[in-house]
Amino acid sequence: MTTETRTAPDPLAEAIAAADGWPEVAPTPRPAPADEGAVKTKDFLIIAYSGELEKVWATMILASTSAAMGVKTRVFVTFWGLQVFVKDSKRITGENAMQKMMSGMQRPGVSHRKLSKMNFLGMGPWMMRRLAKQYGVASPKELLEAAQALGVEFIPCQMTMDMFGLKPEDMIDGMGEPAGAATVIGLLTDNSTPLFI
């Protein structure tokens, strides 16, 4: 009878014993240092999803400022955000009864935005507009015009346009070519800093 129980060689323990310190790892090649002053400015992409006054305001402020700072700026407008870019003069949009009803339930256009809170049947936005005027804050419409003048590209979402029955002539002048999610992802994976509003 023997008490010897550990006779089988342990390959892992042998390998650890044989190893001389940590294995050598080839250093990861570092990217060549960029030339001074040749740093590529990242583009800026806002995904404008919302239609509420305060969020539209944020989108317009950031888009116009970004373009003013010399950054290539794009705004992908989708879902409720798309309603902002329908002409103010349009009241009912859409091709079929349900689309027309949907547009009737929320007035499109940049000048007809509601607040997400304190709307009070339009009292909130009215007060907000008065305060903005008093304090010299540009309206979303003025900021939109400034952004367009500074070269901001507003890209409408084709899928949302189809779903709401919106036609190119319903939209404000100067909109970019309608596009889809792949365009957004393409821009993001390329060189754009994103913001989802």
């Binding site: 402020i61 116009s64 400022t65 373009a67 003013a68 700072m69 010399g70 950054v71 304090y135 010299g136 804050v137 540009a138 900021l143 400034a146 003048a149 500074l150």
Partner: protein, 78 residues
């Protein structure tokens, strides 16, 4: 202090963020390289914002003064 000859002046008094910057960006397009743009603003945020704009766009902020109510910036176009 040497007096900088102003090529163009922009009056953004009474306007809030971001309009002083937006007007600066629009206004500087019309002046030649080396020309000086004067900006008058009352928005207190413009002290930092004008500096940030100059840094981002490479234009030079050559003068910055205030009489307590109005801020005056002179920017030389690169």
């Amino acid at each position: 202090m040497p007096v900088v000859e102003i090529t163009r002046s922009i009056d953004a008094r009474g306007l809030s963020c971001p309009m002083p910057i937006v007007k600066t960006a629009q206004g500087i397009k019309d002046i030649p390289s080396g020309g000086a743009l004067e900006l008058l603003a009352t928005d207190a945020g413009s002290i930092k914002d004008v500096a940030a704009w100059c840094h981002a766009t490479g234009n030079e902020l050559v003068e910055q003064t205030s009489d307590g109510a109005v801020y005056r910036f002179v920017i030389r176009r690169k």
